[in-house]
Symmetry: D2
Subunit: 367 residues, 4 copies
């Protein structure tokens, strides 16, 4: 595993936990790679990795390494992933796939070549493995919503609401690629495509930076990415999705909300209540109909037979456990896990189209 910050901590928990709940090949947590030797060693000890290292190139070349899990910032994804794939390692990479379409294309090409050699790759749009969203996808695929017409997706956070929150690499275009767009709209866009099983074909978008300068160590610095983004997305089927994301939405901590309206039913989800799915079944007589709050903890719900009895909810972190489970199962079974790098690239193209549209006064851009 490369990286030991927020995502490294979350992934480590998943690797450590998966075998106790799911039937997957046994794994060993071999090496944790980080820039600072001391911190990497401390993190390795804490998170259960046998050793620590500082040079990812060396590690991805080692014979005793089968899997590389990339948890570093986006601008480093392409080089590491391509090198690892070429070295024949299975690769799991955090989302978004990359900072640019060009990088993402390079990665997708490398993944295609590697796949021919039986090497597996996957991008971590983890929310596909939240049981309620996996179940939502199943309901839609089974036709329980009829034809989906409209999707409303928003992802609202407030950790940048305070104009005094200081500058970070996440707020500079050169390191982060974009702001809320790449960070959280990527999740929303992936969900739109995942849930509907459809692809975005054209886009109108808008970006805005509410706080244009923030305190840096040597005085105010320019914020060069967006605080918030809006888009409407046309899907191949004719459905239309709206996306709104913000990191300055006071009072919302991690609220990815998704609603889907079809000819035969509707769904609503909020990540702040990740174990619930509201389902409106349009075939129920009007008098009795309503959004029913499904507590997604039944053994028949995706992934849930591995956990606790009904009503005992699991946390946000276990979407990673499920991700690792599916990744390991694909390695074992020779499968082709989703979301692939190709799918990650498609999200990247949508992000780029939103930027292009925003730069053209929101005029629609085809993909």
């Amino acid at each position: 595993m490369i990286g030991y910050a927020f995502m490294g901590k979350a992934h480590s928990h998943a690797w450590r936990t998966v075998g106790a709940f799911f039937d997957v090949p046994a794994i060993e947590q071999r090496v944790l790679v980080g820039r600072h030797a001391g911190q990497a060693a401390a993190a390795a000890a804490r998170y259960g990795w046998a050793e620590a290292a500082t040079d990812w190139r060396e590690v991805v070349a080692r014979d005793d390494i089968d899997i590389v899990d990339i948890c570093v910032p986006g601008w480093l994804h392409a080089d590491i992933a391509v090198a690892a794939l070429r070295a024949g390692k299975h690769v799991l990479v955090e989302k978004p796939l990359a900072n640019t379409v060009e990088e993402a294309e390079r990665m997708a090409a490398a993944a295609r070549e590697a796949r021919a050699q039986g090497v597996v790759s996957m991008v971590g749009f983890t929310y596909r493995r939240v049981p309620a969203l996996a179940y939502a996808q199943r309901l839609i695929a089974e036709g329980r919503l009829g034809a989906v017409r409209e999707v409303r997706a928003s992802y609202l956070q407030d950790w940048l609401a305070d104009a005094q929150t200081p500058m970070t690499w996440r707020l500079r275009k050169e390191s982060a690629g974009s702001g809320a767009l790449g960070d959280i709209a990527s999740h929303a866009i992936d969900q739109v495509q995942f849930l509907t099983g459809d692809a975005v074909v054209e886009v109108s978008g808008r970006l805005h930076t509410f706080v244009e300068r923030r305190p840096g160590p040597d005085g105010p610095e320019d914020v060069t990415v967006d605080d918030a983004a809006w888009a409407t997305l046309s899907l191949g089927s004719g459905a239309i999705a709206s996306v709104e994301v913000s990191r300055v939405a006071t009072g919302r901590k991690n609220s990815l909300r998704i609603e889907a309206y079809g000819t035969g039913g509707a769904l609503a989800f909020d990540l702040e209540r990740p174990s619930e799915l509201d389902f409106h079944d349009g075939s129920v007589p009007a008098e009795e109909a309503g959004f029913r709050r499904i507590v997604v903890t039944e053994p028949g719900h995706p992934y849930m037979d591995a956990w606790w009895p009904p009503g005992h909810v699991i946390g946000w972190e276990h979407a990673f456990t499920h991700e690792v489970r599916d990744f390991l199962a694909a390695i074992r079974d020779g499968g082709d896990p989703s979301p692939s790098f190709e799918e990650g690239l498609q999200v990247q193209r949508v992000l780029a189209a939103v930027e292009e549209s925003a730069a053209a006064r929101s005029a629609i851009v085809p993909l």
Copy 2:
């Protein structure tokens, strides 16, 4: 109409409104009776009554009066109702029917005699006419919950939470009969019997006064009624209901909550959201099952075809409009509207049994 305080205002609105929404015999708002001539005249003008009077005995004897609506405190109910019924007037009386079982028996006897003459009577347990509760009753009667096993009913308010809220007639046993018990547990108990179509057969109860003295005009006075009450009620069918009511439940304004659990389904309701009913249909497969939030505004819901398109909610006050509608329809059709004085007497007996049990260290008292 006798009385022009809170209930008089609510009833007047209902009488004024009913004809515009429902097909009922035309009525005229003839006389408003109150103790103070000036105030009664002002209220009559405001609430649409043609004239005002101060002597209810005179008014209930008038030939041009067909209906008497009693909105005064409980200790006055029996005398007025019996006099009106004997004068051949149809009588609607606010809940609870009376302050004591003895008074309630007198009233029920008078109602029985009057009924033989085609005279109609009814007690105003208005919440039976909240569309969501009327619909809940219908679902249960249709067997959608299977056999009801448990009912949880609570009615929580907080207007007495502050120990400095001054003394009133409602806090003296001689005028009010009891406290939260008669005032709001009576609603909860009526709902338990209404929803299940069953009768309470034994009772364990408890009463408590948290604020024992309150400011009066001449210094502190003793509160001689309960602030809160608890009871478990056995129903004839073997179901068990719990009741908890309080007027000191900080933060709850008018929260009558009712949950019913049966062998085949469940229901939940909260009067602070009176247009919603949560229904769990046990015949739905476990994976898809959940409490569905029914917005009770469909034309097929009780009373709702008279109002607005779906999704446009009506207020608390229209339960009175529906009550008056059913009362007028019963007069027109020679019907026997529910809740009858007999049903009001049954509630009174349950209230008395709760008091008796509370006095006997909560030991079960049969009815």
Copy 3:
């Protein structure tokens, strides 16, 4: 009053009710005007109007008429309103103000002239008088949200979700002007401007018709208005609002949802629970902070001192009672009630800009 359909019924209830709850000049419900003499007479009798008539021109010229309340479809607004204002009548007109900007301009000009003569006019964006929204506006005006950055407004209904729902005048451009846009986005846009006290300065928009043909009496007919609309609105202050409206959102009956995020707090509202306002006060320490569910029934809340004790919720219909109250108060006091025809015209311009942008592939259009 001209018109006796849905809006006529709602307005009649308001006129009949207002005097019993608010101190306003006494009014008489003089004439109900409708195209069909028989139906108008029946409606007049039911809704409390002294007489019925079929020719609005005659009625608006009568000396015994002081107020004209226009509840007919939009294409008739301009002629009636202008004639009534010129005849010196105070005019209340349903929303949206008109079907076109040109008509709206004519009406605004007539209102300006009439105002100089002490004649009052008002357009019925009724939701400004829902107590929770009036209270939301007050909180924002008092600075409790700090500077508003983002508003999310959606208005979702499903009465056209079924493709077999037949054709009506509301689905033809020549009679309705537009579809969901004029009908319900107008409400959302008015709320955005009302709540923020700000004006839209540029717009990107999109329209879509999901069901392009519907059954008519003589076979399928083309639907020539939108089923759904999306827009992002830039406000003068730099805030950005998103709007999404639909009449095919399965499972949503009348769900006008509004969220506002400011530098110092946030608000959320849903018209399916009209008596509640969720308020996040950003000055509360993070550990204790959260969206608090305010039950808007306290005497200090707008309009609520006239009604019932706390916790007793009022219905959708009383926003009209409050509208009529404010209109009558303005007549009495020589006031200038809001929303004025000028404000109605501004909404019309935003609607036109959305259409213009939609026709130009969503490119931003300035106002």
Copy 4:
């Protein structure tokens, strides 16, 4: 660890996870003890225990064992715990402490003696370590509710709602002690005492078995424990708590709901949404007051600084991680962790009093 069923799985996850998130002494998962050698070995492998064994007496005597974690049914608790404590092992035991008061007294005595030797013991009323409930306790202890007057606690499940669900040891008095009472009312009662910091002094109770016979392997068998229980509890301070628990409440999976009403505020919690706490702060002006939904994921909330950024909720299972954390910290620091066996014994006495009252027609029983 003794036992590897539901609780064994949950505890194993906690032991495996605690060190990655909290600063606690390093532990090794040494031996898993179970009756069946093969199953124990498989569970040990899966859950991360170095070896398996079948004789707990042998294991608790081993020198390389410092801690014994007891996850077996209640009737085995006393013998194992007493033996382990006498052998100088720190003991964590699942709730309820025992099946009878007598057993619990024996255990509490052994714990007292062991404590004198620096040996630590604790009973697993895990829900004290759900961050929202730990935070609720802190708010009450800080006086934010003023004096608590009323607590409403219910714990509703439905896994026995179906009368065809077969007989198990949990439904026989000799093995389970009681039914819903010991299993889930014990949690509710512990919470009442934990949250208020107060002790139950008298009790009125009721028990009921709705399904009296269930299918066994050789035909129908008698159910000899309760399906549901009700109680009112008087606390030393004068507060009154109601408790209602059921395992036949159709539609409720694991719904432990707790509401507390004080002179200065109120709280509400539901275990089906374990990361949320609703708090009504009575010092807020009435107009702005309401139950605020606190998402208990801030670094200042109990235990939460160890986990993820705000808004990322953790699961039910991590209450065990927190329990283990506090237990290990107490061993390290020589502390005396709560709930002690003494506190477990007090809960046992309340349970016994409920049974005694139920047998005496609900008459109040003092403790």
